[in-house]
Structures are given as C-alpha cells and as structure tokens.
C-alpha cells in the first residue's frame, strides 16, 4: 500500500483539527435553531384559534374574538391596487432599461438610463416608514385620497417597484440576448417582437419579479400604518380605509391587551400564504423552464 504522507507533520496536524470549520458548522446549526424556534412558536401559538370561522368572520371586541375576513379582503384589495400600478410602469421601465429598444444613442440618453438605474437602486433601500411618510403627504393629503386602500396600495407600489423592475429587466435582457438580433434581422417591429417573442420568453422571470413584489407588499406594515389606516370594518370601496393582515398583527400585539392569540393566528395565516405562494411559484417555474427548453410533452 503506497504511503502518501508528506512528512509535513505540522501542516497535517493543523489539517486534522479544523476548529474554524466546526465553529462555522455550529453557526449553521444555531441559525437553523433560531429560525426553527421562531417558526414553531408561531405555528404552535397560532394554530390554537385558527379555524374556518376565524378566516370567514369579522373581528369582534377589537379583534380579541371573531375572525379576520374584512382584513383579508382589505389585504387583497391593497395588493390588487399595488400590482395594478407596478405591472405597467415596471414592465415599461424594464423594457427600456434592458436595452430591448437599443442602446441609448446620445450621451444624454445614456446618462438618463444610468440615472434611472441609480435612482431605482436607492429607492430599493429607502426605509418603508419613509414611504409611509411620503404616501401620507402625497397620496392621502396632496392628492386627497385620505386614509384609503387606494393610497396604501399606491404607496406599496412605490416601494416594491424597484424589486419588480430589477428582476424584469434581467429576464428581458437575457431574452433579448438570444432573440433581439434574430428578430430585427427579420425586420420585426419592436411591438411584435415584445409581444410574440421577448415577453413569452421572459415570462418565468417576469413572473418571479411579480411574485417578489407581491410578497414584499404582503409582508409590509410600516408603510401602511398611516396611508391605508387601521379601520377593521369591511371596506366598501377603494377609497375606504382598510386594515391589512400585517397591520392587524401589529395592532393586536401592541394595542389590544389579550389580543396575542389572535395576533399569532393572523401571523400564521400571513406566513402560510407566503409559503404557499413561494411553493407554487417554485413548481410553476420548474414546469415553465421545462416547457421553454422544449422538452417533449
């Protein structure tokens, strides 16, 4: 049997005891334990009062009893407003930034594109409470929307727009790398090219961006505190104030003594919704990728 030992005993000793690696492994275990603690805590405490009644009835006694149905409706309405604003503006901006319409011809155009990118980068880092301040001053007061689902949804739209644009830009850019030259060489118009080739090819990426924006919006609390408001009645129009799930969690936990159990249940609903969206997206993404790669049916 050959002997591969080098005789560098010092080195071999150091190699035999990678303390650092053990420590690093320990941090991974710690990380898993902490998040496990958090999630299990929410599941155990939240599961108690979770029932179909809870989902489908209105809150009573300031939320200590009853359910969250109006809160779910308000959340859905806020998200719908948000995504309805994000999609067209985001798609348009992403199409321009991704270079589908060609590189900017003048240095002014180039500077405008760079400026747009930098501004979006900073926008992605602006604290959500600042979006709340802005939404309150601009949508609620300046545009006269008051505390409303409309104002809240539009505030969220400002906040998640950069996430959507960044993902969509990336998806369109990689679709363009493959198909832009081919399309132009056939003399296709940009409208045809986008509609028939680039948008379908970029669809998985666009969808991922959509979902990222959606989940960020769903998780947000601070930006909504003083834009869409606290009212937990069933909203009757988009101009009504409405309380979303995360604000409901906050309010029950902080402002309602004895609201903890219901706060946990609402938090669990929120987390389950997010998890389901993510799992669905992963499955759908897998299916799409196969379809796009032309795997035989």
């Amino acid at each position: 049997m050959p002997d591969f030992s080098t005789g560098f005993t010092g080195n071999a000793a150091a190699r035999a005891r990678p303390y650092g690696q053990w420590l690093a492994a320990a941090t991974l275990v710690l990380l898993a334990a902490l998040f496990g603690w958090l999630l299990i805590d929410v599941i155990i405490r939240g599961f108690g009062s979770l029932s179909w009644e809870f989902i489908s009835s209105a809150p009573t006694d300031a939320g200590r009893s009853g359910g969250i149905w109006p809160v779910i409706v308000a959340s859905l309405a806020t998200l719908a407003v948000c995504m309805a604003a994000v999609l067209p503006i985001g798609l348009g901006s992403a199409a321009l930034l991704s270079g589908v319409f060609g590189a900017p011809r003048s240095s002014l155009g180039q500077r405008a594109v760079n400026g747009c990118r930098q501004s979006l980068d900073i926008l992605a880092g602006v604290p959500s409470i600042v979006f709340g301040l802005f939404g309150n001053a601009f949508f609620c007061l300046y545009l006269g929307m008051g505390f409303s689902i409309l104002a809240g949804g539009l505030t969220l739209a400002c906040m998640v727009l950069p996430y959507f644009i960044r993902t969509a830009e990336h998806a369109l850019r990689s679709a363009a790398t493959t198909h832009l030259a081919g399309s132009l060489a056939l003399g296709l118009r940009h409208s045809t090219m986008l509609r028939r080739i680039l948008l379908p090819a970029a669809l998985p990426g666009l969808f991922a961006g959509f979902v990222l924006a959606l989940t960020r919006a769903l998780a947000e609390t601070a930006a909504l505190l003083f834009t869409s408001g606290y009212v937990s009645r069933m909203p009757e129009s988009l101009l009504d104030s409405g309380r979303v799930l995360s604000v409901h969690v906050y309010d029950l936990a902080m402002n309602v003594t004895g609201g903890e159990a219901q706060a946990y249940s609402t938090a669990l609903v929120l987390i389950i919704t997010l998890a389901v969206i993510n799992v669905l997206v992963a499955l759908l993404g897998h299916y799409w990728q196969q379809k796009l790669n032309g795997a035989p049916q």
Partner: protein, 302 residues
Amino acid sequence: MNNSTSLASSALANTALRHSPKGHDRWLFLLVRLCALLAAALLLLIVAFVATESGQAIQALGARLFTDSGWFPGADASGQFNLTPMIVGSLLVALLAMAISLPIAVASVLFVHSCSQPWLVIAYRRAIELLAGIPSVVFGLWGLVVIVPLLGQLQAPGTSILAGALVLALMILPTIALLADSALRAVPNELRLGGLALGLSPWRVVLRIQLLQARSGVIAGAILGLGRALGETMVVLMVCGNVVQLPTSIMQPIRTLTANIALEMAYAGGLQRSALFVSGLLLIALVVALIWSAHRMGRGYA
C-alpha cells in the same frame, strides 16, 4: 451621385415607406420612455415631498432639533424637539444587530460552501430566500412575546436595546447571507479548483481564497444589511420599549427614529408632524450614504 442617393426616386425607399408601421411602434417607444421617467422621478418626488414637509421644522427650529432639552413635541415652537436620543437609539440598535448578525451569516455561508455539496448550497439558498420573506411584524411579535420576557427575567423590563438588536439581527441575517452567497458564487471556480489541487482542505480554500476574492461583495452586503436594520420599524417599535432617552446600558429601553414616526404620525400636526418628516429626511440621508459606500465597495448589489 446626388440624384441616385435621393431616397424618393428609389424603389427600395418606396418599399420602406409602404411598410412604415401605423404609428404603433412610435407610441410604444414613447410609452416606455414615459414609464422609465416616472420610475426615475419617483425618488425625486419622495425626497421633494419629505423635504417640503420638513421645511417648517427646519426653519422654525434649526439646530434646536438636536440641542433641545428633550422630546416633548407640540404643534408650535413651545415644545421641545430634540431628535438626538432617537438618532443614537437607531444607530446603537442597528450596529449591535449588525455585530451579532454578520459573523453568523458569513460563517454559515462559508461552511455551506466549504462542504462542496451542490444540494446543500442550493437548499441553503432556498431556505434563506424564504426566510428573507418573513414579514418583519412576525419577528416583532415573536420578539415581544418570547424574547422580551426572557430578557425581562435577567433585568426588567426586558424591552431594551438588546432585545431589539437580537431580533433585528435574526431579521437581517438572511439578507446578509444571501448577498455573501452571491459574492462567493461570483468567485471563479478555477480559483477553488486551483486551491484544492494544491491539497488545501475545502475549508481553507473557502476561507483563504474564496472569501478573500469575495470580500468586497461581503462587505457591501453587510453595509446594505445595516441599512435595512436602520430603516426597520416594526421590530424596534415592538420590542425596544419606546422610551426617549440616551441609554447607559444595552438593557435599557430606547426609541428609534423609525419607531418615533410610527408612534406619533397618526395624531401629529404642525411642527411635530414636520419634525417627524425631518427624521424621515435623516433616514433617507443615512441610507443613501450607506448605499453609496456599498457601491463604492465595488459591487452593485444594492
């Protein structure tokens, strides 16, 4: 020569004109530019509105915003408007959270990469991506119900800088880990293989070669994580106690800039409202400075 290049006389040019699209594309070009303009103008709009609203307080109070004897705000200048305790509180909580979070995040990423198991790296990445999506209010709730009572057993009341920092650290951990992971992923595989070919252990390769190459990305990630911690509202609002004071120990409650806005915005008017917008402006300035320095670190992971 002139005659032959004149477009109107050429059959090719006629073709070109006949096929000119029915205004369809031109509208699309315009629309797309408009969208991008709107997106780019959003930041300016936000800064403009926040600055306009804070104008009243800055004009009426000036340096008093940092030198007054405390925070007892009112609608007119007779109140006291010192933002300093809140600024100190924000910085303390965020820096402490960063100090806890960064080593754990980086060490766990390094370990995962050192195992050379593709499935582990992918599973880790998926898990971290999912955890990064947990709403901050859920962290706040957990902190309020679980962590604060635990710390309260050590020293009452439990709502404190430490409570905020611990929960915040957990919240920003996935963000830092994701950015560290992308920085490590960007290191060319040849470097790793080269190290392994010299007989170095995978751990050593990750630590001495990959981390060294990826350090600017890791630092950029840390800076952006700090930005998230500074800008976070719900966690600090729920677990830090919201007492306006300059703390002398990390077991004392404090109030941050963000929590202050969330607490008082609902009923504030006049100078008080304007002073809250000043704190918004301060937050924007802090974040812009952080993002700018993260970009300076060489990678645009903002």
